[in-house]
């Protein structure tokens, strides 16, 4: 019976993804709700938790945080019942992400903090970096850039202990934006941008690539203002070969 519900839940979720691709978010909303319904019917707590957790991430990614927040909260409840400490914290991150998408920063912050505490206690540093980077986004959003920058640097420290590329890319991207906003030390800003581009530029999605290019271009202008004799093209080719014209061609 559980297997059937799992299969039906996944089938409905897949149809929901197809509906989104077809430009039918109304249908996707119904299908995702249906997937959630089938997942709710799974009797085995662990299996239900696994499905709900996966659905929560999917809903958030697809722009349905209203459904995502409920799926993730239910997953957290099950994690706690089953005493799954690390997974509780991971699902809390998802609740936090959904709350952020719903504009509920206070609630999101509580989730990220609790998750961060758990990960640090468990010495799961890659996950701790993820929670910490998400939390820094709330401070940045509220205009506390210095606090946000300090937190992102802490995330990088965590990532040195337990590397995780995706989180590092997010963290460095965040740092790139904040360092521009706070007009940070040029060399330090460049070092972060170089690290970001050399290691992650090729694997970025087009939107992130565009944003990164624009940030780096503005960084180039700052460098040019400080070093008028330098050619921007040479500077770009030397520091950001992945972004240079040659690389693009």
């Amino acid at each position: 019976m559980d297997q059937q519900n799992i299969e039906q839940s996944r089938a409905a979720a897949n149809q929901g993804i197809s509906a989104i691709k077809d430009g039918r978010n109304d249908e996707a909303s119904q299908l995702f709700n249906s997937a959630l319904g089938y997942a709710d019917d799974i009797v085995n707590d662990r299996a239900r938790r696994d499905e709900l957790s996966a659905l929560a991430a999917l809903f958030d990614m697809c722009g349905f945080p209203d459904l995502g927040v409920m799926a993730a909260q239910e997953a957290v409840d099950l994690d706690r019942t089953l005493a799954l400490d690390s997974l509780t914290a991971q699902d809390l991150l998802e609740v936090g992400n959904a709350q952020m998408a719903l504009g509920n920063k206070i609630e999101a912050g509580k989730c990220f903090r609790e998750a961060l505490d758990t990960f640090l206690r468990r010495e799961e540093y890659a996950n701790a970096a993820s929670a910490n980077t998400n939390l820094s986004g709330i401070f940045a959003d509220d205009g506390d850039m210095l606090k946000a920058r300090a937190m992102l640097k802490t995330s990088l420290e965590y990532l040195k202990k337990a590397p995780f590329d995706n989180t590092e890319m997010q963290t460095r991207l965040g740092l790139l934006q904040i360092m521009e906003f706070t007009n940070d030390d040029l060399e330090e800003s460049m070092a972060n941008a170089r690290e970001l581009c050399s290691r992650f530029f090729r694997s970025m999605d087009p939107q992130r690539k565009d944003a990164t290019r624009q940030f780096v271009a503005r960084l180039g202008k700052r460098y040019k203002a400080a070093h008028p004799k330098t050619s921007t093209t040479t500077w770009m080719a030397k520091n950001f070969p992945a972004l240079s014209r040659k690389a693009r061609s």
Binding site: R24, N25, D26, E27, A28, S29, Q30, N33, S34, L36, G37, D40, G63, F64, P65, D66, V69, M70, Q73, E74, A101, L102, G103, N104, K105, I106, E107, G109, I138, D141, D142
Partner: protein
């Protein structure tokens, strides 16, 4: 008052087993029975119907209602429990976001159509899930209590209107589903023109107008001359519409006064409480009326054999066939003023009674604020500013969303005239631009 038959006994014997519905009804009913207007009635009863367990006789009786019903001869208001649960569904769904502009349902029409469909097809489970994780972060209080208070305000909004019918001595009042998916849509041009012209008058009275179509409002215009012929041929319908609208306005006045009185009592001398209550009331009325409007639009489009995707698509469909404007008279129902209009008028009346905002000179008024919801927990002044702004944005969006209904009413009222012109000059192309919700939100952002 005893109702002396088996249906009456069944009505009197039933009480809801749903704890939330019971709690909310009790709170709203207490507000009504303790109101000043109650002194004008010697007796008043509240009955609840649950269509899932009601007998066939009750379902077929005069006491049955899809939503709410006031009966003067029974000195009673009857509420369908299912209606209350729909209110709860809308309130809980929209309350998930603290800030209006972060609500996922305002991103596009498809999100709203998806919401109304998915909540209808998996009603019980969706409601159970929403109840399990109550969210109303903007209220800055216990989340479930905030939801209950918001629901109470909406229940009061509807109940107080029916109460207004009883106070006004109207024989019957009823809030019913505008588009009943089980009934055929309006097909009679006479009825559509009479009804929609009456709605045009009502919209125009409250300055919800259509630039470029001003002629339709003027009684001596060519459009209204043709419409008058329809009215004369359907004098009974026309007279009934007039009585309906008069009674509706009277009942709304009683309801608005009662709600303002309730807010004042709730808040007492505590400004913070008063402002929170106003915020919850406006949020509730906004959520439920927008939810019902999209549910009606969806039901209407399905009734004419179409799947609703967005109001832009609706625009093309309406252009395809003039008869659809006749069908669209169903969107306005037969028992009430248009829901969004009623919601906007009530919101404005209550806000005027509770705030000074409308009295400020235009250059000092703004519906927006710099205050962020994350900062309001420990700052009463910021909280007050943020709550007021959220109320004003909801009120303004309700007014903007009226646009589609206004356009349908104006076109529908002109249908007879257009038909006459086309008979003389051949087919004409009339295109109305219906704004999807995301464009309405963009418009909201441009308001000062």
């Amino acid at each position: 008052m005893q109702i002396q038959n088996s249906v009456g006994q069944e009505l009197e014997a039933y009480s809801s087993s749903d704890a939330v519905a019971n709690d909310v009804l009790q709170r709203a009913w207490t507000a009504i029975t303790q109101s000043e207007a109650m002194a004008t009635l010697d007796e008043l009863h509240l009955f609840v119907i649950n269509p899932d367990v009601a007998s066939r006789e009750l379902l077929a009786s005069e006491y049955y209602t899809d939503n709410l019903l006031a009966m003067r001869n029974r000195k009673a208001i009857i509420v369908n429990e299912r209606f209350l649960l729909s209110v709860e569904m809308a309130v809980r769904s929209f309350a998930q976001s603290a800030s209006l502009l972060k609500s996922p349902y305002l991103r596009e029409d498809q999100q709203l159509f998806g919401l109304v469909r998915r909540t209808a097809e998996d009603f019980k489970r969706t409601l159970r899930r929403l109840r399990q994780y109550p969210q109303n972060p903007g209220a800055m209080m216990d989340q479930e209590e905030a939801i209950r208070q918001e629901m109470t305000m909406v229940a009061l909004f509807f109940l107080a209107h029916e109460f207004g019918h009883l106070v006004g001595g109207h024989a019957i009042g009823q809030f019913s589903t505008f588009v009943d998916p089980h009934l055929p849509v309006e097909r009679r041009i006479d009825a559509a023109v009479v009804r929609l012209c009456r709605h045009v008058d009502e919209f125009a009275k409250y300055k919800f107008s259509l630039p470029g179509f001003k002629q339709v409002e003027k009684t001596d215009s060519e459009q209204r001359r043709v419409a008058k012929q329809f009215q004369d041929r359907n004098k009974n319908l026309y007279d009934r519409e007039e009585v309906f609208f008069r009674n509706e306005a009277e009942a709304d006045d009683v309801a608005n006064r009662l709600m303002a009185e309730y807010l004042t009592k709730l808040g007492g001398s505590n400004d913070d409480e008063r402002q929170r209550s106003l915020y919850l009331l406006v949020c509730g009325i906004f959520s439920v009326s927008l939810y019902m409007w999209y549910r009606d639009l969806d039901a209407f489009m399905q009734a004419i054999g179409l799947v609703a995707l967005s109001q832009s698509q609706f625009q093309l469909l309406m252009m395809e066939d003039r008869q659809r404007y006749v069908n669209a008279a169903s969107l306005f129902g037969t028992h009430h003023r248009f829901t969004l209009l009623r919601a906007a008028l009530a919101t404005e009346a209550i806000m005027r009674s509770q705030t000074m905002w409308f009295d400020l000179p235009p250059e000092k008024r703004s519906i927006h604020t710099e205050v962020q919801p994350a900062t309001i927990a420990d700052d009463a002044i910021a909280r007050s500013e943020w709550w007021l702004s959220e109320c004003l944005q909801r009120y303004s969006l309700l007014c903007i969303c009226m646009d589609t209904a206004v356009k349908i009413a104006y076109m529908g009222c002109s249908t007879g005239w257009i038909r006459d012109i086309e008979a003389r000059q051949g087919p004409k192309l009339f295109m109305m631009n219906f704004e999807p919700i995301n464009k309405s939100v963009n418009m909201l952002m441009r308001i000062r």
